[in-house]
């Protein structure tokens, strides 16, 4: 299997506006979930979330470009800019027709659509901003990234609920392996904290609407779990073929390598838990087999962690059934408990954070996990961060429509 390398990472998220700031914030153990200003709790019982604050996009991009963007494009541009800088790719000399863009997103730029609708009904259709036509839909960040960096290679945006980010990374890796491009900027982005988007997620019934404090609301795998808390953010990485890394003598920049991936469907949205476990296990088994890694070498698991009892139980049971007694040999962490679930970007965040975990030999603990209750059987990282050498990690993701996916990512090796 042709290796695909991660040579750069970038994050704009609730814990910080660069990968380093985010990582330091996450490891501090602080919660980054708070009450959303301007959101009426009587209408939206889940008026909490992980917000991105204090961004300065005008430092890096022209006002002319930023004027055209919805918030999710702006967050993407910032994370991509950091990832390309981290990779050290010289965009003036790299063949831009050989770089692709792959973005995972679920809900688009609803705040732009929301504003456009207000104008439509208050002032009339002729006064709607023409930028709306190209900035509200999920593929908008792909276009704006292309405009900002002049990237012209094979590109795609994928939508598959919380699996979107992982699917984008898998497509990018496969496109590089197929030889269509030499490098890709890939990741996930979501800005679901607008009233309109919030309403859609609220109607799904999986959001946490009853909590002691915002900081203690999101409790994946804990006995007192009460549902998911949303967050906004973007997590991106630069992928390259071995030849691309060699050609620009960037071996020292390699952070990780993307192994293989598997995505499965329950076949029905209302599958029984047993069926879901079977399908989830199939995703794990197939991803590991395709990756040609020894299952014993995988020592870090990053599960989806919706904090809904049945969903968390499916994850715990699938991992226990797959590894049997060896499941306790692996560390299991779920960093999103500290900052919220970024839906279409969630699995991209997990992928980037697992790379940082492997690079720094540090595993962030799961906020609010005090008592696993029915979710026993996995070696959760609790109460404090752990130092551990990890060479291989497994990223897991699930979503509406019965979709589930698994990906193996290995630590540096070039």
């Amino acid at each position: 299997m042709e290796k695909v390398y991660v040579t750069g990472i970038g994050i704009t998220g609730p814990c910080g506006n660069t990968a380093k700031e985010f990582w330091d914030g996450l490891l501090s153990g602080k919660s980054f979930i708070s009450t959303l200003s301007g959101i009426n709790k009587d209408i939206f019982p889940s008026n909490i979330g992980g917000m991105v604050k204090n961004i300065t996009p005008e430092k890096y991009f022209s006002r002319r470009l930023l004027n055209k963007c919805s918030r999710f494009s702006v967050l993407s541009l910032l994370a991509c800019n950091e990832a390309l800088g981290d990779a050290g790719i010289d965009m003036t000399s790299y063949d831009k027709t050989r770089i692709g863009i792959f973005v995972g997103n679920n809900s688009g730029g609803w705040e732009s659509a929301n504003n456009g609708l207000k104008v439509l009904h208050r002032e009339g259709p002729q006064y709607i901003s023409p930028f709306l036509a190209s900035n509200w839909f999920p593929a908008a960040p792909q276009g704006h990234i292309s405009l900002a960096f002049g990237i012209k290679g094979y590109s795609k945006t994928v939508i598959s609920d919380r699996v979107s980010g992982l699917l984008a990374i898998a497509y990018a890796a496969r496109t590089i392996r197929a030889g269509l491009i030499d490098a890709a900027i890939v990741g996930g982005v979501e800005t679901p904290l607008d009233e309109w988007a919030l309403q859609f997620y609220h109607s799904s019934g999986i959001l946490c609407s009853s909590y002691e404090t915002p900081e203690k609301a999101y409790r994946p795998f804990d006995r007192r779990k009460q549902g998911m808390v949303l967050a906004e953010g973007a997590a991106f990485m630069v992928l390259e073929s071995a030849e691309s890394v060699r050609k620009r003598n960037a071996g020292e920049r390699v952070r990780a390598n993307i192994r293989e991936f598997c995505m499965v469907y329950d076949g029905t949205t209302n599958a029984e838990p047993d069926t879901k476990v079977e399908q989830y296990k199939r995703a794990i088994d197939t991803a590991i087999k395709r990756s040609v890694v020894n299952p014993d070498d995988i020592r870090l698991i990053c599960p989806d962690g919706t904090a809904v009892e049945e969903d968390d139980m499916v994850e715990v049971r699938a991992l226990n059934e797959y590894w049997g007694s060896k499941s306790m040999d692996k560390y299991c962490t779920c960093p999103k408990a500290s900052f919220g679930n970024t839906i279409g970007a969630a699995s991209a965040f997990d992928a980037v954070l697992s790379i940082l975990s492997m690079n720094t030999s540090t595993l962030p603990f799961i906020s609010n996990l005090e008592d696993e209750g029915n979710c026993r059987g996995l070696n959760f990282v609790k109460k404090e961060n752990i130092r551990a050498t990890i060479n291989s990690s497994l990223i897991l993701s699930r979503g509406f429509g019965g979709v589930a996916a698994a990906m193996v990512i290995n630590n540096r090796e070039f």
Binding site: S62, R63, R64, L65, L66, N67, K68, E123, Q126, Y127, I128, S129, P130, F131, A133, S134
Partner: protein
């Protein structure tokens, strides 16, 4: 007065080039189709004059000012 307002509208699109009456919207300022449409919308809102963005492609700022002066309400 109209000229100054057009300059402000162009600046609010994020274009920082100096604007003079003879400047061409596309050839000199490099405005793209969405930026032209944005300018068209702003002019319609403020002056009640609809200039189709497609027509603006070959216009200078002076031509825009002239059309507005000729067609705006109350004149």
């Amino acid at each position: 007065m109209i000229f100054e307002r057009i300059c402000e509208m162009i600046r609010s699109i994020g274009i920082s080039d100096e604007v003079s009456p003879e400047i061409m919207l596309v050839n000199d300022l490099g405005m793209d189709s969405t930026e032209l449409a944005d300018l068209s919308t702003a002019i319609a809102k403020e002056f009640g004059v609809l200039i189709k963005s497609g027509d603006m492609k070959g216009y200078s700022v002076a031509r825009i000012v002239e059309i507005i002066a000729k067609n705006k309400k109350g004149t």
